[in-house]
């Protein structure tokens, strides 16, 4: 028995050595490409700043302010308008969380109830076909409270993504694993807990990763039309008062926010999906 154990370990070792070399090579390639990407991004940012500077020499301030003026606007807004940033982030977090929970429940309902499936699926598909602008305009007519308007707009836009992703994830559940867990005669709750929910977690994270940038753009757009509080409304105000430096300052903030949110989701992905095998294609 022990001899066999050694054999297995040796065989596993034989298999992992070339794999490790390959993984090391892949990691090396990845590190080099990361350095290249960072350098390329830095060059692009510097070129954009230079282009802004040059453009600002030839056109009025309300068309293109200098990078210095935009930096000053960023500093000014960071000191005076942070409440608007918090409002936007709060709305984004609330809508994203609610859409996630409601979308997952809808997706599960679609997957688990053949009776309700066609009805929910039709609703979700119709919802995905309605333009975001329609929801924004309708929300302005339907709701008085700006918070309700923005919350409604965001969940109507985001929820279908989660519902469809969860439904597809459920359909991709390997039958082998279902048969395995059913051989232990679990309750439905146990099947949900030990099999279905862990299987669906990657789908939830990947959907969040895909929609978070879109959600940020939508919350800004909704605030522009439906509220006097938040980054979107401040951008609207800056535009109407010809403060293009502030519009660019907010744009800069939104780009950074998107990068931070993507990094945050990636960190959560790494922490929650650490069990996944890293694969690299030569």
């Amino acid at each position: 028995m022990q001899g066999f154990n050694d054999q297995v370990i040796e065989a596993a070792h034989r298999r992992t050595v070339p794999g490790s070399r390959f993984a090391a090579r892949a990691a090396n390639l990845l590190a080099r490409s990361t350095v290249r990407e960072t350098a390329a991004t830095t060059i692009v940012v510097l070129l954009l700043i230079a282009a802004m500077e040059v453009a600002s020499w030839y056109v009025p301030d309300y068309i293109m302010p200098s990078p210095e003026a935009v930096s000053a606007a960023i500093w000014r807004l960071a000191n005076t308008d942070y409440i608007h940033v918090f409002a936007t982030l709060g709305r984004l977090a609330a809508a994203l969380s609610f859409s996630l929970v409601a979308g997952v429940l809808l997706g599960l309902l679609m997957a688990l109830s053949p009776l309700l499936r066609p009805f929910i699926r039709s609703l979700v598909v119709i919802d995905t076909g309605i333009p975001a602008l329609s929801w924004i305009l309708l929300a302005v007519f339907w709701f008085k409270n700006p918070e309700t308007r923005i919350f409604f707009i965001l969940i109507m836009i985001l929820m279908p993504f989660y519902a469809l992703s969860i439904y597809d994830g459920f359909r991709a559940l390997p039958k082998d694993l279902v048969d395995m867990i059913e051989s232990f005669r679990p309750s439905q709750l146990q099947t949900l807990r030990y099999l279905i929910v862990p299987h669906l977690v990657p789908y939830v994270i990947l959907t969040t990763k895909s929609v978070i940038g879109y959600a940020t753009r939508m919350v800004i757009f909704a605030e522009l039309v439906a509220s006097a509080l938040g980054v979107g409304s401040r951008m609207g105000l800056a535009q109407s008062t010809f403060h293009i430096d502030e519009v660019l300052a907010w744009t800069f903030f939104l780009v950074v926010l998107n990068i931070v949110l993507q990094l945050l989701v990636t960190a959560i992905e790494k922490a929650v999906l650490g069990w996944r095998q890293e694969t690299a294609v030569r």
Binding site: N5, A12, L177, D179, M180, F184
Partner: protein, 263 residues
């Protein structure tokens, strides 16, 4: 080892598995035709047959995932299909492929059945660790399935099946995807553990060697899951001459030599 008392090797009392005149059709095609056999407590029986003989259907019927069209099935005193939940904790299955949950570590996979049975988390963990040691996997508890070799993953699958201390263990071609050396060692290890704890086992396989090395008795199935041959194999496990005779008889019943067998 903390196990339920079992009647080691005894063949008295009600059989753990009993099939009487079982018939099953799929889309007008008769897959199982008037099948009857018993498996006694503590017995290791192999259900051997070519691909398409209906072995897996018979296994599914015993597992309770497939109903029957005629006849009667009793597993541990219950109808496995109609009283599906009543067999909770009394039957477990080791499948052809390991079917480990990729997001759970080795020990978390091994304790899965125990947690489903409502075992306390700490006790489940302790039992799982003990069973992993029994199948020679001590030290691999925190590894994820993708970090293990095929043979090691199959051992985890066996540990998961054994850890729930079932009356009956069903093995569905559990060793057929492994190389011959690994397969032979696993078969030997499994039989040692199964006999030590007096487990009743039904092994479904298409490989004659699985039957000759593991079983107390072989049931050879032909088309429509009809029994072509049924014979004891206890002596064949220790005597080479008897073993060769049994092999020849099984091959004849199967209609020829099985190329999948290694010797």
């Amino acid at each position: 080892m903390n196990m339920r008392p079992t009647d080691l090797g005894s063949v008295v009392g009600a059989p753990v598995i009993s099939l009487r005149g079982v018939r099953k059709d799929f889309s007008g095609h008769r897959v199982v035709d008037d099948l009857s056999f018993d498996v006694a407590r503590g017995e290791i029986v192999t259900l051997l047959g070519r691909t398409g003989a209906g072995k897996t259907t018979v296994l599914n019927i015993i597992m309770g995932t497939t109903g029957i069209d005629a006849g009667a099935v009793r597993v541990a005193g219950a109808d496995p299909f109609k009283e599906f939940k009543s067999l909770k904790g009394r039957l477990s299955v080791a499948f052809q492929n390991d079917r480990l949950l990729p997001w759970r570590t080795t020990v978390e996979n091994a304790e899965l059945g125990l947690l489903i049975l409502g075992e306390d988390r700490k006790r489940a963990r302790a039992k799982a660790i003990e069973w992993l040691a029994n199948v020679n996997l001590a030290g691999a508890e925190d590894k994820y399935p993708h970090q293990l070799s095929g043979g090691m993953r199959q051992r985890v699958s066996l540990a998961r099946a054994l850890a729930v201390d079932p009356e009956l263990i069903l093995l569905d071609e559990s060793f057929s995807q492994l190389d011959h050396v690994t397969s032979r060692t696993l078969r030997r290890d499994f039989c040692k553990v199964a006999r030590e704890f007096g487990k009743t086992c039904l092994i479904v396989t298409h490989r004659i060697d699985d039957a000759l090395e593991m079983a107390d008795r072989v049931i050879v199935l032909g088309p429509g899951a009809r029994i072509m041959l049924e014979m004891p194999l206890a002596e064949a496990r220790i005597d080479q001459q008897t073993r060769d005779q049994c092999r020849a008889q099984i091959e004849t019943a199967l209609g020829g030599k099985d190329e999948a067998d290694e010797s």
